[in-house]
Each structure stands twice: as structure tokens, then as C-alpha cells.
Symmetry: C2
Subunit: 302 residues, 2 copies
């Protein structure tokens, strides 16, 4: 019915059935029959037509005037939605956290750029959460819960946080055995984790540590460097300290405890259709992150 109305509007615009048939790539027979069907359902003739004449009836004109604008809007909407949806080339604006992007995930970005040379990636790295909507970003990678209800999100993985310190530091200050021992240590906090909600992996026992007199910085990388320099114990995502752990510059403390798992999310503005490029990147990221055991929420096993 709606389709037939749309067809009629086109017929009225092209002033002819065969012209419309050609334009819309449907056989003329179909145009004739659908118009006839519409006329039957509406119970009136819409077009006075013959081989050489074409004229809307009064009713046809009324229907045309009523529907033409709507049909046009419909088609514009369809065009807006589907443009871009199949194109795997052109610009793609992406936001991501700096630290993980120049660290653990740097190979992912290289791989993506290599795999899709036609996609012109514009990667905006930043540690603070910038507004996705006003920045006209297609899709963003985010870590930790996202509060913006204007965003859609898809979980790609998660990263555990653990307590760490430099071996030197631990030699000098002693290794904490129980949670309460933390009170006697220098602590380094990162601003987005001001309170340490810890949990024992097996027993699910949980506890909260409020690092009061701690050093506080707003960058994970800096925090890990401070810890590495023997300035205290910090709660950091394993993704950021992989190298340091492997090379023994940092070591885990209070091993049965670990901090909150932080989700890794692809987020994008809601109410807008994800472009093919953005979907492509999202799926690519998901595949990559799935292979990275550190990003599966498991405690790192070296």
C-alpha cells in the first residue's frame, strides 16, 4: 500500500507509467498493475491516461499533494541511512585512550591501517573522555563504564587491575601480607580509580581500601613509572604494566587480590546508523582483543 502510493507519486512526477518504470527499473506491466490496484483500493481513478495523454484526476491530485512531500522525505531518509553503510573507504574518525593505544593496542592500529588501506583513519588519542557527539566521531574505544546514555556500546573485552610495586621498594619497605598492611605503605592512585575496590579471585571476598595520604596522578602511564621508580604501591591495569612485569621492574603484591575489571568498549552515538567503516573497525577491534589474553579479564599469566 505505502509502496504503491510511493509508486503513484513517482508516476505523477514523471508524468507517465513507462517513464516511471524505466526510472525505477521495474517492468511497465508492474507499474500499470500496481497503479490499478491502488486505484481499486482507494476506490477512485487517480490518473486519466492513454497512450498520448496523461492527466491526474481531481482525486489523483489530492492524493499527490498529500503524499508527495512525505514520499520524498521517506526516500531522503532512506538515502541518508544507507549512504555510507556499504562504503569501506573514506574518512573514519575514531577516539581512543592514549595509553593503551600507544602501548598494548598499538599493533592493532597498525594492523587495521594495513588491512584497510582505503579507510582514511583519523585517530584521536586522549586520556580524558571527550564528547563524542560534538566531536563528530564515528566510533570510540573506551575503557571502564560509560555513563552517557546517548551512546551505544559493545563490550570488546576487559582488563584486570592489580596491585604492583617495584622490587626495590618492596625489599626496603617489606611485602604486604594482608590488606591492612597497605596502611603502612606509600600508595599511588590514578584519578579515575580514587577508591580501590579489591576482590579475591577465588573466594569473591571483597574489600575497599581508601588510599588517603597517597600520591595522586591523572595518568596511568605516569603512575606506573612512579611505581617503577620505587615510589610506592599502585593499582594499575595489567595491560599497562605487561612489559614491566615481564622484565621484573614491577612485581605484583597481595597476589590473591585484584582490583576491578574494567570493560573495554566500543561506543558510538545512539540513534545514528553505524557506518560500514565503523562497524568494520569495531569488529576488527573485537577480533584483535579476543586474541589478547590480557584483555579477556583474566589475571595475567606470563
Amino acid at each position: 500500500m505505502l509502496d504503491d502510493i510511493a509508486l503513484f507519486v513517482h508516476i505523477a512526477q514523471h508524468r507517465g507509467l513507462s517513464a516511471t518504470a524505466e526510472m525505477l527499473k521495474v517492468p511497465a506491466a508492474t507499474v500499470t498493475r500496481r497503479l490499478q490496484k491502488l486505484e481499486t483500493t482507494l476506490g477512485c481513478r487517480l490518473i486519466h491516461r492513454s497512450a498520448r495523454k496523461f492527466e491526474l484526476t481531481a482525486e489523483g491530485d489530492a492524493y499527490y499533494q498529500a503524499y508527495a512531500g512525505l514520499v520524498k522525505q521517506f526516500e531522503e531518509t532512506a538515502r541518508d541511512l544507507s549512504s555510507d553503510v556499504h562504503q569501506l573507504h573514506g574518512k573514519l574518525k575514531v577516539m581512543a585512550p592514549t595509553n593503551i593505544s600507544i602501548g598494548l593496542l598499538q599493533p592493532m592500529w597498525s594492523a587495521f591501517i594495513g588491512a584497510y588501506p582505503d579507510i582514511q583513519l583519523e585517530l584521536m588519542l586522549n586520556n580524558q573522555v571527550e564528547d563524542l557527539l560534538s566531536s563528530q566521531v564515528d566510533i570510540a574505544l573506551r575503557i571502564g563504564p560509560q555513563i552517557d546514555s546517548q551512546l551505544y556500546q559493545k563490550r570488546l573485552g576487559s582488563v584486570a587491575t592489580i596491585l604492583l610495586a617495584a622490587p626495590d621498594y618492596l625489599e626496603q619497605q617489606g611485602r604486604p601480607e594482608v590488606l591492612e598492611d597497605l596502611n603502612h605503605h606509600r600508595l599511588i592512585t590514578v584519578s579515575n580509580l580514587p577508591v580501590w575496590k579489591l576482590q579475591k579471585i577465588k573466594t569473591k571476598a571483597s574489600a575497599t581500601v581508601n588510599p588517603i595520604a597517597a600520591t595522586s596522578v591523572n595518568d596511568i602511564r605516569l603512575a606506573s613509572q612512579l611505581a617503577r621508580d620505587g615510589l610506592g604501591i599502585s593499582l594499575l591495569p595489567v595491560s599497562e604494566v605487561k612489559e614491566e612485569l615481564q622484565q621484573g621492574r614491577l612485581e605484583q603484591v597481595l597476589a590473591p587480590w585484584c582490583g576491578p575489571e574494567r570493560d573495554i568498549l566500543a561506543v558510538w552515538p545512539s540513534g545514528r546508523l553505524l557506518s560500514a567503516k565503523a562497524r568494520c573497525l569495531r569488529d576488527f577491534m573485537q577480533q584483535h582483543i579476543q586474541k589478547e589474553s590480557i584483555l579477556q579479564g583474566r589475571m595475567m599469566v606470563i
Copy 2:
């Protein structure tokens, strides 16, 4: 396609396929399949659905937001157009010329009111052409050419105009034999026929008379009364002078000549669908006028 989109919008609104099926009176199987087809054509899933869960996907939400308003508008338009189109009761506002309506066509109005008692006729008689659009009139009866391009019209009949005078007057002033004789007579003109374009019925010969020093009035009825009172010769529609001719109070002069035929038209605002009531009246008027020989353009034969 458009129909499927509309269906999807309803599904999203009713939050369920079967609810939608019931609401729209289509089998649930159809709803399922049309949704599946739409998902296939769009190339993405629109709804995460199971027996107990129902949730739009990100894409589904994007499509919903894009189309919901349009679908609603479409349906409102359809409702506006079809309301009234099948209802043969309620108010019907009609305009018509005063003279013919209280004269020759008066029986027609009575007959219509009698035939359709459920139609609440509001008949606005006037001799001047009032604006149909601003008066919210459904349909109007008009005589003579209508210039307003915002109107649709349908010809219902036509009425001839002839030259007439009172027998008394002709006795005193003499009966004109040729056109030029009119120059020596008193003439009465009606404002909507300031120039007399005359024609011989058989020979098609035509002539124009410019009644200069004539009495001029703006109402046909008054003109016929003036002529009846022996004040001169006038060019009048036969429909207005039927009685006077039959009773010998007026007689035709220069019989082979007659004035322009004036069309009787049903007119209504363009771009709006004629309601069933208005169509009903239009067709009723056409039938009635067809039976009235005076209104078939023929010279009156008593």
C-alpha cells in the same frame, strides 16, 4: 519495502510481533517473515527477539528513530484523506447562486434533503462569488466560467441566455427585426454580462452589442422584473424567466439570436479530496440538471 518499514515501526512500538499482528490484523507468520525480509534487505538485525525478550538492536533503534515520525505522518495523512470519504452523514457546507436556487433549482434542493436526511445540509446562497476556500465550503454550484485556478470543476449543464422584453413595451416601442434595431431601444444589462456577445443558433453568425446608455443592475432577478415592468430589453438566462415567458409577461425578441451559453458547474477546492457527501451532492445535482431541458443549453421550448 516501505510497507515493511512501517510494519517494523509498529513492531517496535508494540514491543512484540504477535501484539503487532493482532493490532494490524495480519497473521503472526506474516509479521515474522516481513521483518526477516526487511532485516535481510537492510543487511542487519533490527530486533533481538525471543519468546520472552524483546529489544531493538542499535541498528533497529537507528532505523526506528529515523522512520517512526514519518510512518506516523503517513498514517495520519491516510486517515485524514479517508475519513469522510465513505461517510454519508454529517455536515455538508454548500454555496450556490441565490436566484437559480430559489427558482428553477429549488425542487432539487428539496429533493436532495429528502433523499439524504442524514446529510446535514448547510446551504449558503449568494449572488456574488464568495471565496470558497476561506469559507470552508465543501462544494459549490456556480454559473458561468470560474477563473480561480485553485478550484476543480465539473460541468453539470448549461443555460442559454436570450433577449427579452415585456409585450407592452414591444407594442409601444416596436419589435426589433435586426440587431441594429437594438440601438433604438432601452436596454437593461446585468453586471456580469456587460457586453452582449450574440450568436445565431443555426448559422453560427456572431455579433457583439455594447449596450452603452443602458440601465445596469447587479441582479438577474431585478433585471427580469424591470424588463417585465416594460423598462426595456434585457439579455437573461432562460432559467430565470421560464415562468414569465410561459405566462406571457415577457417575450423573446430577435428570436434567431441568443446570448452566450453559461456553464453550470460544480466547483470545489483543489488539492483536497472530495468527501463522499460532496460527491453525492455533485452527482445528485448532475442527475437533476440532466433532466431539466432548460439547463441543457438548448433554447427553451415551452
